[in-house]
Symmetry: C2
DNA sequence: GTACGTGCAAAGGTTTTGCATTACA
DNA sequence: TGTAATGCAAAACCTTTGCACGTAC
């Protein structure tokens, strides 16, 4: 489980961090830092914003979560760190994983001298709930 | 030119808006609102932030600029509104246009009931300047 | 015991808003 | 002239930071 992954990285396992890891484990909602904070502080009232941000920042540095730049209003976090893409509702910003790998290659003429390392595809659309309105 | 496009939309052409349109015309830098403000206020000292944001917001609603959610720190704006993709330097956040259309299709099994409208590919890499360091 | 994490509050950066004034059409 | 944009300042958000205290190891 995720807690083992964290211990293997060699970081201190505090109750707050365990709560965050527990919340993220298998989470498919791509939550924001605020959502994570709100969810955990129900059961953990002394938890502070700074701890959430610190922990997310550490997890990102260790490659244990992805920081998604998908929603202009705030960063969102994804515990699924294997290569995948996303489908985003333009109305409610719901995000779902797309486990398909498109194996995109950039023609060398389009690389502008960059060393290309990776890519990410965002699909935009309307989710079932938003279509009804 | 862009000013004509703007007039055709039926909006008032103020000197401030003309300055913004002029700055964006053919601009390949994907500037942030702050960069637009700074560039224009050199020659137009009374220009306010609110006017830049109001104008960009109006242009976006009319489809005359794209708001890019590419840089976690701030929104960036792109006057090139035809379908294209982007290559981003992970170090300095330089963004260049990729005029290639990859014609990606999402397998229906991966659509989660969404109506898919469009997509956008982000390539990540190191630009020539950042590679040297 | 010590290095590192936590909590609190304040600050930083971007974007939005309210309202009186100004100016395009 | 009337409607809509501008300018200014304050506020709203999200995120980061400094520092004293607490705790995992």
């Amino acid at each position: 489980m995720m807690i083992d992954k964290y211990r293997d990285i060699g970081l201190k396992l505090t109750p707050q961090r365990i709560a965050i890891l527990d919340y993220l484990e298998g989470n498919k909602d791509h939550p924001s830092a605020d959502e994570i904070y709100k969810a955990i502080s129900k059961r953990f009232p002394t938890m502070s914003f700074a701890t959430v941000y610190n922990t997310l920042s550490t997890l990102r540095e260790k490659g244990a979560v992805l920081e998604l730049t998908i929603d202009p209003a705030k960063k969102r976090y994804d515990p699924e760190t294997s290569r995948h893409n996303h489908l985003i509702c333009v109305t409610c910003k719901k995000v779902v994983d797309i486990p398909v790998d498109f194996a995109l290659e950039l023609p060398s003429g389009a690389r502008h001298g960059f060393t290309v390392m990776s890519n990410h595809v965002e699909f935009y659309g309307l989710c079932p709930a938003c279509k009804k309105q």
